[in-house]
Symmetry: none
Subunit: 205 residues, 4 copies
DNA sequence: TATGAATGAGTTTTCATTCAT
DNA sequence: AATGAATGAAAACTCATTCAT
């Protein structure tokens, strides 16, 4: 039972994580999904799951955290490839669009309303991880803001909290658009992005 | 036993709804709560629940919708008692603060990320109700904006979508603050509200 | 609670019996029928049933016995109106035809395979009643046989048991026809009766 | 654990069937028996039953059909070992005697009054099976009759329906004797058989 | 090491019976 | 006397977890 080395995972563990993530992306409810379903989706036996994890709760929680880590890292990598304020901001919105069909998007979980707190109790044990992602995102936002300042887009004299809040609010507003697109037939995605950006500019000027 | 309290539910149904809402407000997970727990929290026998509802799913879904209706109506009533743009906006934030401990806050559900869609399948049948609340909130926002316009606070020439988005984004940003208060020790609630308002003013000027 | 006088029943008791009989004739299974269904079918409240009977088992058992008594008496009355062997025998078959749609026919219960024994345990207490009906039927058969003897139709020198057995067997055979009519498309009811009668005559000659 | 015993059922399914059959033979009512009782009688866990069958109804219905198949096949085999009309007929009566304590005898179900129709709804799906047994029995009767004809015991010129009816009626009459033995103290089983046979001979002469 | 058949604890659901009105 | 709302004991059924293979 060679559990894992540091923070890498065995093939079986990864298969199981991917099974869970798959199920959830296909609409399964993390509270109602069964171990049998996970086993089938992962292509492993039910017993095997218990070779690698102690309980169902642990499987699901760790799978979610694994996915979160991956998504956040991927998002950061993409955002950092953009070299100016506007491109970087739009890239963030772009990522949100791409993740829309994924009800289980980490962005949703991290940025918005704290519904995340409702997740498995178990995760409380892993709260430091979530906090780590949250502060990584914060530093990304800080660098974005610095870029905007250096480019002369941001000129306002206000606390860092205010500036971060503007970015976070605008992104939350954009997520709200994405989640309710069917109600805004006259606003296409490009338009919605442009208006988010406009708000940011005005609020930070 | 006066059969109907209002024109909709019997006393027993209301007792059961309140039992469910109580449980959830005390931290129960809507997917993991049991009928026995609901019965105990409602002060009725387990069998009684099945006299009034066909399944556990129906009980919980209807309780949530009932609560949503009540909360939305209460919030609207409070907001409408304020007669100027600023007071009305702050009143909305105030309501959010008061609802914070309520993991199950309708504001969270309605305004933000659409995690609401993940709720019990059953609710799909009641989607029109949720849509109705959403558009009531929208018209409240529209009236708020009109007020701001009449008071000369809002002067921007932009689409209604933009203006609504500013309000919604700022509220979502405020919810984010509330949900992460422990991370913003240097910002008290009053300050957070003021900064939200500042963003709104700047974005709508 | 004026229970009953001797062997007459109150209106309520009769209403309940008729409710039960109705349900069963409409295809309900006596083991699966619920007290609520009986109450609805009887047009009385569920509580009322427990004013007149101690348990569900008692209600159903007594209703069945009541029906049995009525059916047997009615059958005997009809049979005795016929004044010769052949008419009397045919009248018995006629009654069976008329009762066919009634899965719950007493004739089935009494004459045939003893499936009756499977009925409610409770009935064991009332076994004397069933025995009484059985021996009334036996004496009807005896009088029928006497008639046939006097008419010169029956001439065989054999035990009374044999003669009764011939009658009972032929009726059981006819019931088998009735219950499987769809398998005997070339045999109409009249023909089946005639062949039963033929067998009886030959066996008793 | 050799998966399939014959080409139809797993070992576990057979264990469950035998548990059900056992219970019924020991006097349990097929409508009132519980899954817990079946589990205990089968020597398997309650959950195991639901691994192999979808509902309690399915378990019981399939167990009954399984038993019916076995009993019919066994009876036919025994009957066919006899090489003349009389022995074959008596062998059939013998089988009935042996099955008497079995309230759940297939012979009762198939030959007689059609009470069988009252069994679980589920069986309607399997009606073709029951029809198949019924017609197998019919062809056994036909071969018996042919034997009697060839031996010169049967000489009557009548329809096949009549001849079959005589056999079926006599067997039904014998079942009636068996089920009411306590009322016929002066007739022992041998005597009852002989009289049945006598009736058959006379009716088919 | 990997498995899935087996299981029973714990869930949802039913319904005979009670009892306040 | 008549009722049906309320109930909990007992039923059907589910599924996380175990363990023999």
């Amino acid at each position: 039972m060679s559990k894992m080395e540091n923070n890498t995972y065995t093939d079986k563990e990864l298969a199981i994580f991917n099974g869970v993530i798959d199920l959830i992306k296909r609409g399964a409810n993390i509270y109602l999904v069964t171990v049998s379903e996970i086993a089938k989706a992962s292509g492993v036996g039910k017993g095997t799951i218990y070779e690698y994890f102690r309980t169902k709760e642990e499987v699901i929680s760790k799978a979610i955290l694994y996915n979160m880590k991956r998504e956040v890292e991927h998002a950061i990598e993409r955002v950092e490839q953009k070299n100016n304020f506007k491109d970087r901001y739009y890239e963030a919105l772009e990522i949100i669009v791409e993740n829309f069909d994924n009800k289980f998007s980490t962005i949703n979980l991290l940025l918005s309303t704290g519904n995340f707190n409702e997740l498995y109790e178990y995760m409380i044990d892993e709260k430091h991880l979530i906090a780590a992602y949250t502060s990584r995102i914060e530093s990304i936002i800080d660098r974005l803001l610095l870029m905007g300042y250096e480019e002369g887009i941001i000129t306002i004299e206000e606390s860092q909290y205010y500036k971060r809040m503007v970015i976070i609010s605008s992104i939350a507003g954009f997520i709200n658009y994405i989640n309710n697109r069917e109600r805004y037939l006259d606003i296409d995605t490009q338009k919605a992005m442009d208006l988010c950006y406009k708000m940011v500019i005005k609020a930070l000027k």
